[in-house]
Amino acid sequence: MKIQMQNEECKLKNKGFTIWLTGLSGAGKTTISHLLERKLKEFGRNVEVLDSDVVRTNLCQGLGFSKQDRDINIQRIAFVCKLLTKNGAAVISSAISPYRDARDKARKEIGNFVEIYVKCPLEVCAERDVKGLYKKALKGEIQGFTGVSDPYEEPLNPELVVETNKETVEESTRKIMQKLVELGYISPKSPVANVYSPEEEARIKERLSRLGYI
């Protein structure tokens, strides 16, 4: 029984998947991805975050924001996600990815695909204006800015919607973790004990007890 349980957990540990965060600039994709990364690491997962800003300065240098360039950008990200997912990693992509067909293609290509709509009203994103881009876009200084002068096509059937103007980052992240459990990508068992092997844990416990801490 116990051994079987461990096998189950082993299998889960090696099941790769891609969390695809989509939403307006400033909706909170990057912020959520960082907390999510830590949470997943607690489960002993290998995690790779493909943040759009990092991707655009490396993998997709030179690409602009036309529909065509945006599609290429997403194709490349999806390709890397696919490779990592195939090899058992937990992958998080945090590109705006405004076009539905591009996301659907990514879903097909990657397979274990968890689309999360990071939803936040445009006014709130513009108010946050984390990068100061909305100010420029609204003044017309940036062309083709998603939500202002370029379309954003909301997901029709995402695995989950998180509403960052109504939830804290922790809540949104918790919902995503819950969804991953539901989808069978991570085990519902608490991950906390994973740091120590059972023998190590026994030794630490013994030591802390002698030290009077517990």
């Binding site: 906390v192 190590e200 030794r203 630490i204 030290l211 801490y213």
Partner: protein
């Protein structure tokens, strides 16, 4: 042009009490005294609970234990009765000062700060803490650093192993050994590594307090006059002072120096066997009362007739058996608050063997924290204002214990630790009040001209 790089050096002394360092022995500690004469210094308020974990983490993140979801070394990971799970670096979700600095491209060195195991990547070097199982583990970042640590220290010591021994001699010896190695390594890194931020925590003071307090403190219930260990703690402080002097000598005058502790220490009068008390008050029922003192997790509890159980430690934690929350919960949610208040009243009325009120304080997590992430205990208790510890085991038929269930223990933690800050301004030994450990992280970042994250809870010390 040489840009004057602002450096910060933090020395952590676990469990250093202001009463001993500042008020009692300062004149015998020339290096610390000299440092203080150019610093602001004083008491520093710890977290509730005043314990190593979460205190160091709260200090380095400026986030309260509730936000961290860290209520002790071990925390509930589910509402079942399986006991508590260990926290580690992997369960800390707030950025520490060195995480923030690493991201900003600053070079950091971190040695021995509690709750840094398993090592996580930093922009520099990390040697983990006493929560590392042993030196066979990967306890450095980068991985290869371990060879250097082992060779410089000639066998690094993470903690005092055989602590609860009646044979005090080896305990004392290991404490000195451990401290000597840590300072040797510290000086080696100060000289050989590139760094903007350097932090090292020495556990020695905590270990020596717990093992040797009764020998010097005439008010300790188990004080032994004229013992050869009478000056054990003082002598260790003098030794520390030398190590500190030698280390601070390596730092330039414009380095911000902080000497801090996570909490203080005070004599331990005794222990409250909380589960005995709960049994006597009809709140807890065992299937069978044990023949000898038995740890709580080894007992068979009659959960259907149990409302509350408690955990041992330097402070107490109380858990309530709530219907639809715990697997066999009995306390109806609508009675939860009323019952919890009743429990607080009774706990705060706890007496010693002579019928004197011991001044216990019980806290509701939601009253003392801005958020309660994870699963907080239902109550956090300071028995006798921390002059008494909490004991979880059952079997002695009395609620008072003069010995800890895992062996003798001389000292408990106290709410106020110390801070000393030399920031280059002429401060002339000013004693400062009202400082909390939440102030340390913002002070460091501000000094390094880095914007303090808005959710940090402390104030910048100037």
């Amino acid at each position: 042009m040489v840009i004057n790089k602002k450096k910060v050096f933090v020395l952590g002394l676990d469990s250093m009490p202001p009463e001993l360092l500042f008020d009692r022995w300062l004149d015998q500690l020339p290096n610390i005294k000299r440092l203080i004469s150019n610093s602001i210094y004083g008491e520093m308020k710890s977290t509730i609970p005043a314990i190593t974990c979460p205190a160091w983490v709260s200090m380095m993140t400026s986030a309260n234990p509730g936000r961290l979801g860290l209520y002790g070394f071990r925390n509930r990971s589910s509402y079942d009765y399986e006991g508590l799970s260990f926290a580690s670096a992997n369960t800390i979700h707030q950025d520490t000062v060195w995480d923030i600095l690493s991201k900003m491209g600053k070079k950091v060195v971190v040695i021995g700060v509690p709750m840094t195991y398993p090592p996580r990547p930093v922009n520099g070097c990390m040697v983990t803490c006493f929560m590392t199982p042993d030196t066979k583990c990967d306890y450095t970042y980068p991985h290869e650093l371990k060879t250097e640590v082992e060779s410089i220290s000639n066998g690094y010591i993470l903690d005092v192993g055989e602590f609860r021994s009646d044979n005090k001699e080896p305990v004392l010896k290991t404490i000195y050994n451990m401290t000597e190695k840590r300072f040797r390594l510290t000086r080696h890194f100060i000289r050989s590594k590139e760094w903007d931020f350097f932090m090292v925590v020495e556990m020695g003071p905590d270990r020596i307090h717990h093992a040797f307090w009764k020998y010097f403190d005439q008010e300790h219930p188990k004080h032994i006059p004229g013992s050869k260990y009478q000056d054990a703690i003082l002598n260790y402080y003098k030794y520390l002072d030398e190590e500190i002097g030698e280390t601070l000598n390596l730092l330039s005058d414009d380095t911000l120096i902080l000497v801090v502790s996570d909490h203080g220490a005070k004599k331990m009068i005794g222990g409250i066997c909380i589960n005995e008390w709960l049994i006597q008050n009809g709140y807890l029922k065992l299937v069978q009362y044990p023949a000898e003192s038995t740890p709580f997790n080894k007992l068979i509890v009659d959960w259907e007739n149990t409302m509350v159980w408690g955990e041992g430690g330097y402070y107490g934690r109380i858990f309530m058996n709530v219907k639809d929350r715990e697997p066999r919960g009995v306390l109806a949610p609508q009675h939860y608050e009323h019952f919890r208040n009743e429990l607080i009243r009774k706990l705060e009325d706890l007496r010693d063997e002579n019928g004197r009120n011991i001044n216990t304080k019980a806290f509701k997590p939601e009253d003392i924290y801005t958020e309660c992430n994870g699963i907080p205990p239902d109550l956090i208790v300071y028995y006798g204002d921390l002059f008494w510890r909490s004991i979880g085991s059952v079997g002695n038929r009395t609620i008072w214990a003069s010995e800890n269930d895992t062996g003798p223990d001389d000292a408990n933690h106290s709410q106020y630790g110390i801070f000393i800050m030399r920031n280059g301004k002429s401060q002339y030994g000013m004693r400062r009040e009202g400082v909390t450990l939440y102030d340390i992280a913002p002070t460091i970042l501000n000094y390094m001209d880095i914007q303090v994250p808005v959710d940090m809870e402390g104030e910048v010390l100037q």
